[in-house]
Symmetry: C2
Subunit: 291 residues, 2 copies
């Protein structure tokens, strides 16, 4: 099965488990869980996770699938909560109304909470053999570290409520954390040491941030599926503001070059480098709708 | 160390870990985490969890402490999110302003999210010996099941957004789930089978619901530390409405009698029964301020 199909399959199974048999759980919340994770978008974090697991031999595909799904569930949960009226007050996400508009604000809060919990459940339930228990527990710890406080995406969001922001910590937590989790959890799921994989995740996260700044500055709402020009509108720090469009594109290429150079030695090293190159092409804006 | 001190000690350590070293994490969110879990109140779920663990021999106190803390973190997270303007819009909790009033609505959302994640982190980090990994993983699964969808407290809250409510599922999920988690996780942490402990948790949860209905009907805001008369005001189903005050008190005593009778055979059975009797006395309202 190719990576995209593995992710789709595992995501559907996870959402069905969280929804329960028809009628046993509150129906609107059950429907909101599915709404919040579809359509899938690029599924970039689980794809990176499975790519690393495959490069490392993928000897426990069920653990790798659970790691990929857990990452995407946490990511989707953070989007649902970030879109709430008290944060970004966003009306659209992935080209459709946000969860709090489609369902309600209480159900959006509960959807995020339920997806976070489902992520940890998936990891703990994937260790069907006693000898996989240590790996599964390490995956739980890694995901918790990159999601919560003091260093995960919750911390990243939390920096937005500070008067003095540590910009490096902000970006590292808000965007970088789940990319680091993706590479490290992919390696861990395949029985490798997580630590050497931190740099690859961190650099891809950094590249993703620059690419996001470029898209926000260059594309319109129709292409993005969400409001454009938000960095300028909210006076957020942005690579485009700092370096200009061409400078930001050069910076993006440099970071991805560094990412490829950082790939630890493993059986599928060459293929993984090829995948990062492919990402690089996809990430680099080519057809600006407005400049 | 007695149970209350064990809980205080483990809760403080967990919050300090989530806060991180001074300056590395966003300070207001770090402060809000501590605010949300203090003052401790009765800590009834972790107390029940440790009481069961002790009755079962408590051969891995670090796992039992983590289970107790994880339960309380999830409970506090649910209170913070339930108090949000889009749910109960509560101004006071435990006699002080709710987290969204003291800090902000975004920080209240993030506080809940961070506490949920910290709960799973505590469980996964408590298995310091490889041979404890299976127990820790089972604890993660149990907590996830009783917290999320389709059967946990998120599901319980979710029922409030349905037109047709399954009242039994609603109460079982919203109030009962964490009590079942408390007895089962206490047993699991001490290496026992969780299943036989479900009934004790379910019955104590039921008793707690009746006691809460009684308090809501009998006491005023000053005694409760939160608004009183909310069941009548929101036309919520209540044991007092159904059975009257004396009927509800009789029902409470019956349920607790059944709870004691359900305690599985274990080394500390008699002491645990004594503890439930003590709860029963504490739960039963004695000095109604208004009838």
């Amino acid at each position: 099965m190719d990576i995209a199909r593995r992710i789709d399959h595992a995501m559907s199974a996870a959402i069905e488990r969280a929804q329960g048999r028809h009628g046993v759980a509150p129906g609107r919340l059950a429907a909101a869980l599915n709404y919040a994770v579809t359509p899938g978008g690029a599924r970039i974090r689980p794809t990176l996770c499975l790519s690393v697991a495959l490069a490392c031999g993928d000897d426990r595909p069920e653990l790798a699938d659970a790691a990929a799904v857990a990452l995407e569930l946490i990511h989707c949960a953070s989007l649902v909560h970030d879109d709430l009226p008290c944060f970004d007050d966003a009306d659209f996400r992935r080209g459709k109304p946000t969860v709090h508009l489609a369902y309600s604000e209480p159900l959006a809060v509960l959807t995020g909470d339920s997806l976070i919990i489902a992520a940890f459940d998936e990891l703990a339930s994937a260790a069907t053999r006693p000898e996989d228990a240590l790996r599964a527990l390490a995956l739980v710890r890694l995901l918790a570290r990159q999601s919560g406080m003091p260093h995960g995406i919750c911390a990243g969001q939390g920096w937005e409520s500070e008067e003095k922001v540590d910009l490096r910590a902000y970006h590292r937590s808000k965007t970088g954390a789940l990319f680091v989790a993706a590479t490290q959890m992919g390696a861990l799921a395949a029985g490798r040491d997580a630590e050497p994989w931190e740099e690859l995740g961190a650099r891809i996260g950094e590249a993703f941030q620059v690419a996001d700044d470029l898209r926000d500055a260059l594309y319109d709402e129709e292409v993005l599926g969400k409001p454009a020009g938000q960095d300028a509108a909210h006076a957020r720090p942005s690579a485009v503001e700092e370096l200009g469009v061409q400078g930001a594109i050069r910076r993006l290429r440099d970071i991805l070059g560094g990412a490829i150079a950082s790939i630890p030695s493993c059986p599928g090293e060459a293929q993984l480098a090829q995948m990062v190159r492919l990402y690089a092409e996809r990430m680099t804006p080519v057809a600006p709708a407005r400049v």
